[in-house]
Symmetry: C2
């Protein structure tokens, strides 16, 4: 069982590491941190480096693919190494997944055409423009394609995927191990409940997120 | 404003990266990923490398200190470089914080003696043995010391700290940017609500967590 989590320059750290923390505890699985070149990539805020251990051509046959977002996603359209790898690796995968604007990369590779999918709430229009059907849900399953909403939603996605793939008992064990009993300080973490000043402030820095 | 997030071999990735994702968006702050030596450390599951950019002696005066847990915490008792750095850096800090069993490192450095603090639910006894007063809460403030429960609780800790340090409006903006509107698949992420089979299964692998 091979799990490939993609890393690229200016990805969002938590998009990758939230799912990593769950998927790396999937019994019998090995997680490979995959990228174009081995070595350190800097995340979107530039203040954290994550290490690519495996190049795309070293893992043609992942069972699970996980693609993070972050504004660096804009570099991975047609002609990029990630775009080419996704198109062939997806033929092998049991599940192809994303967090945040990682779904824009999947969509641009043609993997979400006419499929229900989600992304960061700032990017629904971008997702539609790439041929998917945006859904404002936390985690969206459409056949083997599993997409998550913004950043932190990757944790919910990975645990939901674990419940699908391993059964609810194992997913509950994983959730308890990570003590994932979230108590966010505010009930305004999504656009449906957020105050207008917060929506305006996040929208103003859209280019740093999408 | 300098924020030091500590990295060490066999730390838990999400303990560090959850708070990182929040704190790296603290206006005017620079986050430094700090360790004994520059270069890559492997996290507890061995399948992810995080990069140390700054050595302890390069940052004697952080404003916020954040220490993750993971079973590697056991290497950072008296005589270690982290132990020595914490004792002096804490004299400068406005806030000294931890996620998961990172609080055991703070406690062993004498920083939590007779203070209320928390940790992963598997490690309350270890925290008490190091002189702190364990509290089974998600985030615990005692003066400038802010500790979080297991792994994922670091996100709640960092957002709560942001509300303290920057005000509730800014913290709400940060939370919305990360779309932190958690929807865990099960309501059993803590020991109070988890089924016995899950508690038994996690307890059985205690050495891989604490």
């Amino acid at each position: 069982m091979k799990i490939a989590i993609v890393l690229f320059e200016h990805c969002t750290a938590l998009d990758a590491v939230g799912p990593y923390e769950v998927l790396s505890r999937w019994p019998g699985a090995t997680v490979h941190m995959v990228g174009e070149h081995k070595g350190v990539v800097r995340t979107d805020t530039e203040m954290l480096g994550l290490h690519v251990d495996t190049t795309y051509d070293e893992i043609p046959d992942p069972d699970i693919i996980m693609v993070p977002g972050g504004y660096g996603q804009r570099d991975h359209r047609e002609g990029s190494a990630l775009h080419a790898w996704l198109q062939q690796a997806d033929r092998h995968s049991t599940w192809t997944t994303s967090a945040c604007t990682g779904s824009l990369i999947l969509a641009s590779a043609g993997l979400l055409t006419s499929r229900r999918a989600t992304t960061h709430w700032l990017a629904y229009d971008d997702l539609a423009a790439l041929g998917a059907i945006p859904a404002s849900e936390r985690v969206v399953f459409d056949d083997k394609y599993v997409t998550a909403a913004g950043v932190s939603a990757g944790i919910d996605m990975a645990l939901t995927l674990a419940a699908e793939g391993l059964g609810e008992e194992m997913a509950q064990i994983m959730q308890l191990g990570l003590e994932y009993d979230p108590q966010p300080p505010f009930a305004t973490g999504g656009p449906a409940t957020a105050p207008q000043f917060a929506i305006d402030a996040v929208t103003a820095v859209r280019d740093l997120i999408v």
